[in-house]
Symmetry: C2
Subunit: 107 residues, 2 copies
Amino acid sequence: MPPETPPARHVIEALADPTRRAIVEALRAGPKPVGVIAGGLPVSRPAVSQHLRVLTDAGLARVTPKGNRRYYELAPEGVESLRRYLDTLWDDALAAFADAARKSARE
Amino acid sequence: MPPETPPARHVIEALADPTRRAIVEALRAGPKPVGVIAGGLPVSRPAVSQHLRVLTDAGLARVTPKGNRRYYELAPEGVESLRRYLDTLWDDALAAFADAARKSARE
DNA sequence: ACTTACGGTAAGCCAAGGCTTACGATTCGA
DNA sequence: TCGAATCGTAAGCCTTGGCTTACCGTAAGT
């Protein structure tokens, strides 16, 4: 059995919030402790903690406790899950598109 | 100038709602009028109309008025936009991952 | 040991948005 | 031309969820 990738809908709902997207953007530079992340954002630290919970549940982030701090980093699993979902959407959209083109060409 | 693809955040926020995802799923089979879409869902037709508005604004759907009915179909633009966003996320996540691996290997 | 820093959790407030009903506009069928 | 069907929009209700303050546990430094 594959290592159980998180459902795409959790990933989408996690990325739907602007603050969470900002956190993701911040993590693109590399692992950061909660306080540092919150320092660069216009919301409180507890808010960031709550968002990080959602992000980790969605498989978009990982934690690595390092003594006193907890370092969060981007996790590939969530992104991959969403990407697979979009791939099928993409295929179907293209197929429907080609279908419509074929149908309109017939007239 | 490229044909102006919609911002990825609109696409994500559009796909964040379960009902809208259900509509997208319904449209994967091909173009459908509003009434038919609403018929397969547990919400009213006006609700579907409102959702379709969001989906078209996000570049995920297109309309083709056909006499009395309005046929909605999936549009590739929105999906592509979100896919590009995920590609950069993916790359950065992998890079950070490799970086962390390299760092931990050093110990 | 005691103090300080870091961060997760709870309770509560409040705005955002999804749903419904009601209405109006447009188009097809008879 | 008249009634019926399709669909978009407006107004209003109510749930969802994001934010803050307050509190607690844990680890580090002195």
